[in-house]
Amino acid sequence: MKKDLCNTEHHAWLRVFALIVLVLLSSSTLFAVDNSPQVTLDASNTGPRSVETLTQRAIVRDYKFAWANLDVALESNSAGPLNGLFAGPANDCLRGTVSSQQRSGMTSRYLNQRHKLEAIFYAPVGDVIELHDTAEYDFEIHDGGKTIHNEHAIVHYVVLMTPGADRWVIRQLQAVPQF
């Protein structure tokens, strides 16, 4: 009787475990419907200038748009989507990646992006802002139709953004091991 009771409970536990595994496996598909990046910004400890609310909104909007287009550019191997969103070294780097992907026949994807931005430095006259981005995404590398790398990555980026005519542009997007 003791063995039966134990087996019954054990089976129930196995069923719950199997259910959890199924939910976890299907979750990536369920949540992949909206693939636009999620971006949050914490500007509470910024100096020497404080970041106005409207500026915060503009930075979040433009950073999100830039990463969405970065994914499109590297998936389609086209530098067009990068236009106007990146400048300086960041622009050169990404264009370099696109052109070398074209040469090697590779593509890459940044899926299910989540970016936690923290504003670290905002220049006294507001002409440059430094952000720390703790980015989380599913990073895929493809060679032709074959997936050669697929990982859920957490990457730390140091970001420099400057205000353009009608938006904030990314000038530096540099991954670091930690902040």
Binding site: D92, S104, V128, P177
Partner: protein
């Protein structure tokens, strides 16, 4: 009895959980040992590195970095050499080696030594005596335009004509050093330099006179009316205001009031006003007002 059954079941579950954890750990260790790539742990931008591989047979090597994507045929067991040019950009790189299956490893490339200082100074013209009116931001970059994040000391030096140079040392935080200072008392060029090791960046801020202060006017009757002019217009520190600064002359002739705006030229603003009777003339520029000048009527 019931507690006995519960205890037995609990011990069974704990045992099963321990076995599962042990299996997962074993699988992770085995997986880690199976990765046939040995990536560098302290790569620096612009320096060649070698990636060691294990095994034998043909394979395809891929590298995906911040500004590069390459594919290369290789042999397992041989080193894969990456040139300095292929690793110019600081950031994270993913190395993938595909034989029968694909294995990957991630590594970071750090920025090199500072080679360029980006020095932003504002404003280009500043009125004298302005509190915290001048500021500068320095960002050190290596020769490949990677932001150098390692702390470094930047020396800011400010030199104005007629005063001793002042300097201050500021350490970079997250690749940025900055300063803020007040403008001096005298108009003229303020030389600002930022130096880091042997790198120097220089900027100039033109310190200009502030608003006019203590306006004084004089005047006389002429055949065409009255000619009024200011004494040299200066700010409160004694600096002559720039040409083009507007002085407004006001003439009160009984109930009639007339205005003339005149720009300062060579320190003096001058205007001719039409008035026949006794007149009271005054002048203003910015928030400064001058003395009143009373002139009698014309003959």
């Amino acid at each position: 009895m019931s507690s006995l059954i519960n205890t037995a079941c609990k011990s069974h579950r704990v045992h099963a959980a321990l076995v599962t954890v042990a299996l997962i750990c074993l699988a992770m260790v085995a997986g880690a040992q199976d990765v046939p790539l040995h990536v560098p742990s302290n790569a620096v931008a612009g320096q060649a590195v070698s990636i060691a591989t294990k095994g034998n047979g043909p394979a395809t090597f891929y590298l995906r970095g911040p500004s590069i994507s390459l594919k290369r045929d290789t042999e397992l067991g041989q080193n894969i050499d990456l040139s300095a040019k292929e690793l110019q950009t600081s950031g994270d790189y993913v190395a993938v080696l595909c034989a029968s299956t694909c294995s990957s490893a991630r590594f970071f490339v750090a920025p090199g030594k500072p080679a360029v200082l980006t020095f932003l100074v504002h404003p280009s013209r500043a009125p004298v005596g302005l509190n915290d009116g001048i500021n500068g931001v320095v960002l050190p970059f290596d020769q490949f335009h990677n932001l150098v994040l390692a702390p470094a000391t930047v020396q800011f030096e400010l030199t104005a004509k007629g005063s001793a140079p002042t300097s201050r040392d500021v350490q970079t935080h997250d690749g940025i050093a900055w300063f803020r200072t007040s403008s001096g008392k005298s108009a003229g060029a303020l030389q600002i330099s930022a130096s880091l090791s042997d790198l120097v960046a220089r900027r100039v801020v033109q310190q200009v006179a502030s608003d006019p202060c203590n306006l004084r006017i004089k005047g006389q009757r002429t055949a065409r009316g009255i000619l009024v002019e200011t004494e040299p217009v200066r700010d409160c520190s004694g600096n002559p205001v720039p040409d083009g600064t507007i002085v407004t002359f006001t003439a009160k002739d009984g109930h009639e009031v007339s205005f003339v705006d005149a720009p300062v030229k060579h320190d003096i603003a001058r205007a001719t006003m039409v008035a026949k009777g006794p007149v009271v003339v005054s002048a203003a520029s910015g928030v400064a007002t001058g003395n009143e000048l009373r002139l009698g009527g014309s003959e």
